[in-house]
Amino acid sequence: MPSFEPVLTRNVGRKEALTLAGYKQLGGYEGLAKALKMDPDAVIEEVKKSGLRGRGGAGFAAGMKWSFIPDRKNKDKARYLVCNADESEPGTFKDRLLMENDPHQLIEGCAICCWAVQAETCYIYIRGEYTKSAAILEQALQEARDAGILGGSAMDSGFKLDMWLHRGAGAYICGEETGMLESLEGKRGQPRVKPPFPAVVGAFGAPTVINNVETLCNVPHILIRGADWFKSIGTDEKNTGPKLYAISGHVERPGTYEYPIGISFREMLDGCGGMWKGGTLKAFIPGGASAPMLPASSIDIKMDFDTVAKAGSMLGSAAVIVMDDQTCLVRAAARLAKFFNHESCGQCTPCREGTNWMELLLSRIEHGEGRPGDPDLLMAVSGNVGGNSLCALGDAAIGPVRSLIKTFRPEVDRHIAEHGCPFPERRFFAEGA
């Protein structure tokens, strides 16, 4: 693969980036300084032009999202930016890397976004379990406050900006944007009915932008290096920029890797040392627990939003879970179904009842009590969940289940025919993997 100079992770491993002074020495806050001299709408235009798409999962164009905020020039109206740092999708650990190693990059990105939509308050909603990231961010925020970037006039521009860290209490559903807003407002974390969308009625009833950590971390670089540079990275017009891939599972060196978006899965696999113990690839999940599994034959797929979507899965949060041929996919799907059942907020019928039913069915099949009609029943049940639920969690929950039946049907049938799991139990942690 062509050599690629890291953008988002350039400061990873540099201790000095943790301090404001060190970050500035590394070229930090130049993007914000530049943005503050620009017209807010011009900042939005620049981000729009760059083609930056949301890195949280849905891949919605970031600049477009910002431009949905109505009446941006009105100084009397409250607007908010909420940074989604509630990274809880199984397999995803890219935002944590950014927050733990380069907190000011995120703060700078948030500040630029706030300027662009003229929001004077930003909340960073961080996953409750991320104690280390929270401590580092809190310290960085304090430094920024002390330096006058936050809490008053940002870099002497007269733009009043404040930023607060809000720790979640451990619910996957609070990563859904409206669930997050409810939680932020101190209510039970459960998604709201849309419309109205958060851009119109968001946090505390005010227009709100919600962006993922990685999305916002891209923003300073777009401002400094320009939209054209950003567009030059990636597959095509619609899939641009650098992208973090959190690779886990049966690979030699799991971890977070930065590549230009659209790198092929094969290159990515080579980059992390290939399959674990020289095993054979059986399946991989390209975008976190909610993305449908892809078979080994998709090894040359380009890992960008549109190509993965065309293959019937989704890039999602780009959490790549690799599974070798000793893996029981029924067990894997059952485990994921259990996760979604556990994390469903319980307010809407299809998700509350459907995720539960899917888990029961899958664990029954895995434990050798499957019946011949079960795969079809799973398809029917998941079909009733998908598209009918209140928020996207229902759609997410059926990803692994439906792909299991569609792509790996023989393995499911074997479980049913043999009244049990044909694969041996593997204990990774015992082997130190």
Partner: protein, 547 residues
């Protein structure tokens, strides 16, 4: 106003109307559980999924009708496509897989949203065959407060009850706990569901999860006969449905009237019918005869005796129009009289030429019933003090009022005292007051209850309860509302208008056989506040009286 087309039927609706409401306007019923017209829209049950086309473009997913609002022309909604039917069937299946099959012992059976929609949209066979149903052990009969019992196993998590306590009662005792398939409803620690409107959560609950302590296991709902009526608990005049079995009232349910009680009523009002069951009933006319013993008599004997007493024949003085020297004649009315009955009592007073006429009502606890205009507060423990007074039961010049009769020496000055209601208030059950009223030389008591007052009377005439007669009440806001009998009166009991008309016919033959409608027509002629109104034509929501 924008136009919306639902299943090929087009209707014009105000901006912001949701598709469920718009559907009702054209006769398309969209199934729903969590949606309630007075509660916030949460789109949780997903039963109201419909296909929506806007500006010629079909939305990629099915939309929840409750949260889809008609904003501009060109919305086309379909509820009958295979996709919609399949989705609704799927939601029905999801709701049923973990629902217990205890309909035979469930109070809701017969008026259950799950039963109705299963029948309409569900499938006869379950595909949930080899798994265990989810249960909430130990949470099958949790008293949430004095009046409501929760069976969590039956709950479908629609949160109507939670939203009711938050948004209507504004007391917020209920919450949603846990998550996913373990989600449950409950009261917050240390709180109990004890607000005055608490039992409304039973009404809004579409299934049998919340049941009324009072009604639990009292009757299968499909054996109940339901008749529209009014609550007599206070002066708000909540519209209710009387649900009874062969004249035995089992419960009151609020009947929607946006002008009065909206969809709600208070727990006190709901319990008010119990008086009809616990208080002994006056079942036949009773006349005190030789030796001072009261004996049952026929209506003819009773009314002849009443006429004689009114004319003073028994007392040895002949009435000739002016008040007798031997003592006054007084008529004590009640806030429980219908406006028509009160008007006939006033007519009687006119015939007797007495200024001593009054209405006695108790002040009760204060009840506030919320509605769209903020709500109505009732303070008097009777439904129709205003109507009775407007109909003519107000003291004339130097006439005695209710206080003179009940607390002063008014009764002692009376040759004849007519009490129009044997259960006009607490005083009818109070020994001292009864003794005071008994000081009148002759005491005639009308009414449904065999109260101490009725027992003390020289002549007691049994009248129908409000559940057994036609009439109207005027509530605290001056709104006149009509009600009709839910069932016929028992035994020899007769409606007040019939009895009074027969009695008045002895004074003036033209007054025989009056119906409540005819009396109301007289009232409309006599009293400006009622001008132009007709009892049979009163709108379902009642009519405001002229100021």
């Amino acid at each position: 106003m924008p136009k919306v087309t639902i299943n090929d039927r087009t209707v014009e609706v105000p901006v912001g109307t949701n598709v469920i409401e718009a559907g009702l306007l054209v006769g398309v019923q969209i199934p729903h559980y969590c949606y309630h017209p007075r509660l916030s829209v949460v789109g949780q049950c997903r039963m109201c999924l419909v296909e929506v086309e806007m500006g010629g473009r079909k939305m990629p997913k099915l939309q929840a009708a409750c949260s889809t609002q008609v904003e501009k022309d060109g919305m086309v909604v379909r509820t009958d496509t295979p996709e919609v039917k399949e989705a609704v069937k799927g939601m029905m299946e999801f709701l049923l897989i973990n629902h217990p099959l205890d309909c035979p012992i469930c109070d809701q059976a017969g008026e259950c949203g799950l039963q109705d929609y299963s029948f309409k949209h569900g499938v006869a066979f379950s595909r949930f065959q080899f798994e265990d149903k989810r249960t909430y052990p130990g949470r099958e009969r949790i008293p949430l407060g004095a009046n409501v019992v929760l069976n969590m196993n039956r709950c479908i998590q629609c949160t109507r009850c939670v939203r009711f306590t938050n948004e209507i009662a504004k007391t917020g005792e209920l919450g949603f706990f846990n998550r996913g398939a373990r989600t449950e409803i409950g009261t917050f620690p240390g709180k109990e569901l004890s607000n005055p409107l608490a039992t409304c959560v039973v009404d809004v609950c579409p299934v049998g999860a919340l049941t009324s302590t009072r009604f639990r296991f009292a009757e299968r709902v499909f054996y109940l006969e339901k008749k529209p009526s009014l609550c007599t608990g206070c002066e708000v005049g909540c519209n209710v449905t009387i649900e009874h079995r062969r004249g035995n009232i089992k419960r009151y349910k609020p009947r929607a009237n946006p002008e009065v009680n909206d969809y709600w009523m208070c727990d006190y009002g709901r319990a008010s019918f119990e008086r009809y069951k616990t208080v002994p009933r006056l079942t036949a006319p009773r006349l005190r005869g030789e030796g001072g013993r009261s004996v049952p008599v026929s209506w003819k004997e009773a009314l002849d005796a009443a006429y004689k007493k009114l004319r003073g024949v028994d007392d040895g003085f002949a009435r000739s129009g002016s008040a007798p020297a031997e003592g006054a004649i007084a008529i004590l009315g009640s806030g429980f009289l219908t406006t028509e009955e009160a008007h006939l009592f006033a007519e009687l007073a006119d015939r007797l030429g007495t200024p001593h006429r009054a209405v006695a009502v108790d002040l009760g606890p204060e009840w506030h019933i919320p509605n769209l205009k903020g709500g109505i507060t009732g303070r008097e423990a009777a439904p129709n003090r205003r109507g009775a007074e407007l109909a003519g039961l107000v003291p004339g010049a130097s006439g005695m009022n209710a206080k003179d009769l009940l607390e002063g020496d008014g009764a002692a000055r009376c040759a004849l005292l007519v009490v129009a209601d044997s259960d006009f208030g607490k005083a009818a059950w109070d020994e001292a007051t009864v003794a005071r009223l008994r000081q009148a030389r002759t005491l005639i008591v009308f009414g449904w209850a065999d109260s101490p007052l009725a027992k003390a009377a020289d002549l007691a005439l049994p009248l129908a309860t409000h559940a057994e007669k036609t009439g109207s009440f005027v509530n605290v806001e001056g709104r006149v509302q009509r009600f009709t009998p839910a069932f016929p009166p028992p035994g020899l009991v007769r409606p007040g208008v019939e009895v009074l008309s027969e009695l008045l016919a002895r004074f003036d033959a033209s007054l025989s056989g009056l119906t409540p409608e005819e009396v109301f027509a007289h009232l409309a002629e006599d009293v400006p506040a009622f001008a132009g109104l007709a009892l049979a034509d009163l709108p379902a929501t009642g009519a405001p009286l002229h100021p």
